[in-house]
Symmetry: C2
Subunit: 123 residues, 2 copies
DNA sequence: ACGATATTTCACGTAATCTCGAATTAGGCC
DNA sequence: GGCCTAATTCGAGATTACGTGAAATATCGT
């Protein structure tokens, strides 16, 4: 996962309603839940729910499929995996600083890797 | 880490300048960097930098200490650990769904194997 | 076709976020 | 004290995010 995708995922999860929503879908499993059930469980207006659902879909964190009359949303576990991997690799320092339960034996690319760090100062 | 702290951390990291900033401090190590060096490396105006630094401090992701004339900022690795733990526990489904690098027993294929499921070796 | 249900789209108001430049505080040195 | 540098605070402007309610779209059942 590259930086842009990580930023999209982080931004999508950095809002309480969406974090609750994603956690609900994660616990719901791969079958997912219809929008109506989600709205009822979270207590949000349908139009607000669509707003947040679209945000999560755009970030690739959930998927949408239609089942007859209802739209089913389900967590996309792979994207969450990718975000965790990105954060672990890029934002966790070297050595076993992060995820000590994991004890990753190798592969910490030292230094900044895939992004150009400098942005020209505009004015 | 409880939800409120996780939201603060996610919100702090969901902005490009702040993500770059945090990554820079992570690679800089526990000694940290003075604000001036950070501003120069990222190409950000001083007032904007303070805005983002404060945001990260409020989220507990970095710390501030004064060294004579300059203010040194350093990554707070523990908070990042806590965020990763929170996401792994609350947003990753059951058991071995997330952090496959930690759990090589990948007995779960719900069809979303299109995205990078394991840590993509970059470079 | 008609009605009912499920969900989205649209328009609008408000609040939050981000950037910028000028002014200000803090500390060190002559 | 006066001066310089480091960094922050302040105030204003532009942009974006969020919540709400009314209207529109899609699908199913009769």
């Amino acid at each position: 996962m590259e930086k842009k995708a990580a930023l999209d995922a982080l931004s999508a999860l950095s809002q309480e309603t969406r974090l609750d929503l994603f956690r609900l879908l994660v616990t719901a499993g791969p079958e997912g839940l219809p929008a109506g059930v989600i709205a009822e469980r979270l207590g949000v207006l349908p139009s607000s729910l669509t707003f947040h659902l679209n945000h999560l879909v755009r970030a690739g964190l959930i998927t949408q499929r239609r089942l007859s009359r209802q739209l089913i949303y389900a967590a996309e576990y792979g994207t969450m995996n990718g975000l965790l991997a990105y954060l672990t690799e890029n934002c966790c320092g070297r050595d076993a600083l992060c995820n000590p339960a994991c004890n990753p034996s190798d592969a910490f690319t030292t230094g900044e890797s895939d992004e150009a760090p400098a942005r020209a100062r505009q004015r």
